[in-house]
Structure formats: C-alpha cells, structure tokens
Symmetry: C2
Subunit: 259 residues, 2 copies
Amino acid sequence: MRCFHLLFVVVALLATAAADAKPVLRAVTDAPAGVASDSSDELYCDGWRLSVETGNAGPWSAIPSRCAGFVRAYMEGERYASDSAVAAADSLAFAAQALASGDGGARPAWVFDVDETLLSNSPYYAVNGWGSQEFNETSFDEWVDVAKAPALPSSLKLYKELQGLGIHIILLTGRSEFQRNATEVNLFFAGYHSWEKLILRQSPDIGKTAVQYKSERRAALEAEGFKILGNSGDQWSDLLGLPMATRSFKLPNPMYFIS
Amino acid sequence: MRCFHLLFVVVALLATAAADAKPVLRAVTDAPAGVASDSSDELYCDGWRLSVETGNAGPWSAIPSRCAGFVRAYMEGERYASDSAVAAADSLAFAAQALASGDGGARPAWVFDVDETLLSNSPYYAVNGWGSQEFNETSFDEWVDVAKAPALPSSLKLYKELQGLGIHIILLTGRSEFQRNATEVNLFFAGYHSWEKLILRQSPDIGKTAVQYKSERRAALEAEGFKILGNSGDQWSDLLGLPMATRSFKLPNPMYFIS
C-alpha cells in the first residue's frame, strides 16, 4: 500500500488539469498530519469518525486538529479497506435478495458515486495531508485530469458482481461535463466497463447542492423506468433526498464533507 | 463501571415483570461472549459495527459470532460512553445554532427514544451476553419493571442542556402504555424530570413497526404545533419515516436491531 502511494505521489506532483467533485471547504488544522495520537485522542477521534459516518456531525469543514493523525492512520492502514469491504458485502447481500424476491422489476439499477466510491483519490490525499490541509482546488483538478485514480478494490468487486446479477449500473458524479473524457479514461484505467450511463453536472447544475442535483437525476432515472435498488456513495449527499434508492450504502470517508 | 455492573447484576437477577421495547429477534451465537478476539476479528467487527451504525447492514438478527467479544469490550470499555458523548455534543451544537437562527419557531421540540437512549439497559445486558444471547422477553420485561436502569450519562446531560435552551422534551418509546408507571419511575430514578409528554404504544399500535408508529406520532406532534428540531435514538427506526426531525442523531447500539 505504501509503495503504491509512492508511485502515485509522483503522478500527483506531475499532474496538470480540472474537476468538480471537490469538498466544499477544507480548513488548515493546527497539527501536522501523522502526529502520533495519544489514547484519549484515539477515543475521541473514533467517536468523531462515527459521528461523521452516521451523519450526526452534520455539515463540517475541517478534520479536528487532534484527529489529523488518526485519519491518516485510518486511511493508510487496514481499516479503510476493511470498512469499505463490509459495506460492499452488505450491498451485494441486499441486491441478491432483492432480485430473488422479484423487487428489481424490469430494469433494476444501482447508482454509484465516483470519487471515494468507485475511484479512490488516496494517492492524491496521501500527499495532501489526508484531508487535514486546506483544500486546493487547482491541484485536485490537476489530479483528476491525470486520470490515474485506482479503483476502491471492494467497489470494483461489487460493481462486477452487480453486473453479473444483471443490474444496470448508473454512475452519478458531482464532476462536470467537461471532465467526461478524463473520468471515462480513469474509470477504464481502474477496471470499470459497461456502465449504462455516466451522469455529470451540466451547466444548469453548477451551484446546486449535491443533494438537489443527485435527487433530480434519480427522479429522472425512475421516470425512464429504472428501479433504483441501491445507491452507493461516500457522502450522505449522494444518498439523501427524494426519491431515494430502496437501500442506500454509506461508504467511509473521514477526509472531507460535501453538502 | 464493572462495580456498577455487579450491583445491577443482582437487581437483574432478582427482577420480576414486563416491557415492549425489545429487539425483534436475537439468535444464539456459536461463540461465548467475552472470547478474546484476534486482530482480524477486531478489524472485521469494527467494520460490522460501522455498517450497523450507518444502517448499511439493514435488518439484522444476531451479532456475528466472531464479534461477541468485540461488542462486550465496546460496551464495557470507554468507547460506548465516548461515542455517545460525541453524538450528544453534535446534538447540542445543532440545537443551539438552530435556536440562535430562529429555526425553532414558537414550540421547538426534541424527541428522545427511551431504551439505550435516555436509559441504559447495560446492567441487564451485562448479565445476558451483551446481545449475543437469544433475546429473552420474559427476563427483559422483568428488568424493565424493576425500573432501575441508569441514565446514559451523556443523554442526561444533553436532556438538561436542551431544557435549559427552552426546548420542549418529548419522550417517544416503543414501550407499551401498561408500562407507563415503571417507565416514569425509572426515568425519575435516573434523573429525568419535566418532560412535556411521554408517548407509549397504545393498543392500536401493537404490531406496527417502530418506523410506522413513531412517524405517526411525530406527525401528530407537528399537527399540535411542535417544531421537531431534533430526534435522538439508538435505532434507525427511531429516526426514519416521514415526517422526520430537522436533524436526527443516531446513538450507538451494537447489541440489537429493531425494525
């Protein structure tokens, strides 16, 4: 994992272009990432992470400074991959059961977000403080344009398993239409193929919250006859708002918040 | 904490009566509670707990057998109290901000669940495998009638702080009307006072899911003119369903699931 990061550190530093799936805000924290945390920090930060993942935290703009090292350890260690894998297993179990009971209808569909869901921007965040540094739109957009974000492994596995079940795959991202090419190239690079649609923000969507934009697109999908069985995203704003999928799956992301 | 448990172990064993805030199902697991878990169990169980707390797990009937020791350690150690305290801090921060911006209206209200929210049944579960043993309705109902469940400390603190802000406190529990006396006695014992309403299941509510029953009661509260700013519960079924509170706060509970 660390070697992998080193490889992409180079790519990240050389990168040069643009994206729209960025965090709303990222404040500079007063502790450097990677500072070893004591046990009271560990306990607090574990609770803070739970509050983020359950949505209790509500909108937030910065990782608490005492948790910068905790987030780094979480992302670099086994827990991020493990937690993601449990979410994927939950998703597959539900999908198989739903299809078996005939709940999928004629056009069963699954909606995936892209960043921190199908694709992992860990190589970028590894050299940018794992969310603890102020968000730099220019450098993140450059990273997106390089189109070398790897798959989140458990999501790639789930994606293929859902396709194997005959479920239509819809990609619904906060990235903008002008990034379609970089996004497609990156998805192919990461091993994703044969999606039904890749939906990106159009001009009238700029400035909408993710909740509004994504809800409108789920409504349009339903109007087209898709039954949205499941929805996978790392932000609650990928999942909330009407209409919702039959079941929504929150993937972990302690690095940033998007409203 | 352990002395505290020992004290209540005696109470639990002597206890004798009835409740309706019980888990839907509790399967016997194939590993005894308290078995030391190895690091792969720890990693898996941490992901499993996250999937339960985010709702990814969906309906579940039993703690995975390899996680019985993990759940026990979580509940007996500092993490349960710490995670609950972070959720309470999130709640208070939101409430203060909402009132300051005038979002509370004329009758701002906060809905609390009772079991594993205001009251902790830890003394009961400490002698019943922390959720890893099959649910025994008779013994749990006896425990409820003893009316000695302590407050979840961070919830008691939050409750008083919300009262201090002038917010109306509504208690909405899955317990039944015949348990009103035991419930009130227990709430007073634990330090709770001056709630606006204590809503229990009436005869027509028996057999309804918690989502249906609690949603209907929230609708009735809104019809009475309450603005439900916040809702605190340890089950997603305390929080989901229309109308929802402005913000919902999921308290931790890895021991059981109620639909």
